[in-house]
Amino acid sequence: MRELTYADSLREALREEMLRDPNVILLGEEIGVFNGVYKATRGLLDEFGPDRVKDTPISEIVIAGAAVGMALAGLKPVAEIMYMDFLPICMDQLCTQAAKMRFMSGGQLKVPMVLRTQYSLGRQHGSQHSQFTPAWFLQVPGLKVVTAATPHDAKGLLKTAIRDNNPVLFLECGLLYRTKGPVPEEEYTIPFGKAEVKRKGDDVTIVGISRAVGEAITAATKLEEKGISAEVIDPRTLQPLDIETIVESVKRTSRLIIACDDIKTAGVGAEISATVQESAFDYLDAPIQRVACALTPIPFSPPLEQMYMPNADRIIETATNMIGK
């Protein structure tokens, strides 16, 4: 199979959906003339023209607010927010307006918009340009939250997001844009709410989110040399969350680690851990563990940032301690 980068795979999804549906409109900072900071929109302005690829002012409120308006008016906007750290600026548009309108209008209104954004942990972008905060948005009913970990999943999930009639927060990872992976040439989409078992195993289940999926797979490979068989699961969408696949796995392995680049306190791992023990308490051989970030601003210093980030070694250490080998 041909290989594409994560960024090119996203670009292909955008292009295919723009060809498929004339209502799909892109908007965001530097996505047109500059071809996108991460090159996910490279060449699209030339191909589709300024009516469908819109460079916006540096105002996240405008981007998100315009997207909500476009969606209400019948278009299918795909807006890009350059850093996930800027989402608080458009919290009202996204969480209070977009996510609620369908419910408050009794289904008379639809808000079919996608808000794409990325987090840059590990790229020395400092405390205000590195955060991964998916859990904030898991408390917003009406909002779907997607995390893509591979080029293949990035394309399939983005196409599903664009076709969805509800607001979708599509979370990309800055460190993954240049990574390559197999992407089929033929058309495919990936359904929301269906986790993927990336690797089978018997001794411990590792749920990875976004970049941590790759770290979990690396960890599982090394754990195998120690005689520990790890299963790796990527939920792919956090809202809706495929808890059944995780619980089914934990019932077999009796141990669970959740690895995620967010802050450990009240993070994605906390939510998954709490939900899993509700259904699988009597199947656990060890307390559920989270491999995530400390409750501190992300350090700019490269060695400190490396120490701060979850990685395969930390997952390995956690798994070994849990099993006692």
């Binding site: 051989d285 060890a286 006692g324």
Partner: protein, 385 residues
């Protein structure tokens, strides 16, 4: 098993919250025998002697006379029997010596064993005694692997170990269940019950019930009992200490089953109430009982109890007396039965009335006369209106 049995403040009445210590009959350091009275407690209506739950040394008294102690709170500790046998001044006769039993090996409690939830579940499913398993997990935690290993080991042994049946759940003896257990055990230990049974023709009862369908049989029975008690007040008595107390007030209590357990709310001044009032009050009490909203007033002051299992096809039964009351009436079902009328056999509705009375308080003849009165009242049901 506990090495040091505690004496706790018992619940002598379903509504009882606390009990007052009147006096200690034994001193700290004295030997006590199981079943021997060791202190006097004042309950809601009367005082009770509390017996030692075990034989042993009364090692500690934790409440003094006058103290108001919440029910189930420990008030004394009874230690090992004959801790210092050589200290006994003179050899006692063998019958007075507490039987010396070997100290039981303490089985570690569930909490002392460090085992994962998965291991505990597997151990129960596989019938493995988890206290015999060594843990291989971090900190010695027993994991599901350890249980599986133990299962394999057991399987290779020649003799299969006997074990108890699988347990669905364990629930603490508490609340109403505990009150029922304590009250009825007290009754079974102390009362001298005699049971007498009489058949009553229910023709007029059934006819009345057809006319007044909203009136429950139980209400008719309660009314018949109240009227009968008026004429046979001796049955409306209780044994308090060494006194028989006969009440002028007639308060019939009614046993009601709830999801939490059995309660016996009281219809105060039953004989002063009409059949309709009684019927209404029974419905009200039953509703309150099911909603767990009965007050202490609802639950105290009963002078006689009636219990009806007729709705569950029970023919007749001998209930346990609700102390300190003197008697209880058990009602069976009303059914058509063949009866000899002269030389003919006819079919008539009838029911069996079972009176259990405390022979310490009343004798057989007055009890039988009382039951005849109830029978007569029920057989002439129009008179109950």
């Amino acid at each position: 098993m506990n090495h040091m049995p505690e004496v706790v403040m018992p619940r002598l009445d379903p509504g009882m919250q606390t009990g007052k210590i009147v006096e200690w009959l034994k001193k700290e350091g004295e030997q006590v025998k199981k079943g021997e009275p060791i202190l006097v407690v004042e309950g809601e209506k009367t005082t009770f002697e509390i017996e030692a739950p075990e034989t042993g040394l009364l090692t500690k008294i934790m409440a003094k006379p006058g103290d108001d102690i919440p029910v189930t709170q420990a008030i004394a500790i009874i230690g090992e029997p004959s801790i210092k046998p050589e200290a006994q001044p003179t050899p006692t006769t063998p019958s007075q010596l507490p039987t010396s039993t070997p100290a039981p090996t303490p089985s570690p409690s569930r909490l002392q064993i460090i085992a994962s939830p998965a291991a505990r579940r597997l151990a129960q499913e596989q019938g493995v005694d988890i206290s015999q398993v060594t843990g291989s997990g971090p900190g010695g935690r027993i994991t599901s692997d350890d249980i599986m290993a133990a299962t394999k080991k057991t399987a290779t042994q020649t003799v299969t170990q006997t074990r108890g049946p699988l347990i669905l759940k364990r629930s603490k003896l508490e609340g109403i269940r505990r009150a029922v257990a304590e009250r009825l055990s007290y009754s079974a230990r102390n009362v001298v019950p005699v049971t007498i049974t009489m058949e009553a023709d229910a023709t007029t009862l059934v006819a009345l019930k057809e006319k007044e369908s909203h009136i429950a049989f139980t209400a008719l029975a309660v009314r018949a009992i109240a009227k009968s008690l008026e004429k046979h007040l001796i049955v409306n008595s209780a044994l308090e200490g060494d006194e028989i107390v006969t009440y002028s007030q007639i308060n019939v209590a009614l046993a009601i089953h709830t999801d939490q357990g059995l309660v016996a709310p009281v219809i105060q001044n039953t004989n002063k109430k009409t059949l309709r009032e009684i019927n209404f009050e029974i419905n009200e009490l039953a509703e309150k009982a099911r909603a767990n909203r009965l007050t202490i007033e609802n639950l105290t002051g009963g002078t006689f109890t009636v219990t009806n299992l007729g709705a569950y096809d029970v023919e007749s039964f001998a209930p346990i007396i609700n102390p300190p009351q003197c008697a209880i009436l058990g009602l069976g079902r009303i059914a058509y039965k063949p009866v000899a009328v002269g030389s003919q056999v006819a079919s008539k509705p009838s029911t069996l009335l079972t009176l259990v009375f405390d022979h310490r308080i009343i004798d057989g003849v007055p009890a039988a006369r009382f039951l005849q009165e109830i029978k007569s009242n029920l057989e002439n049901a129009e008179g109950l209106l």
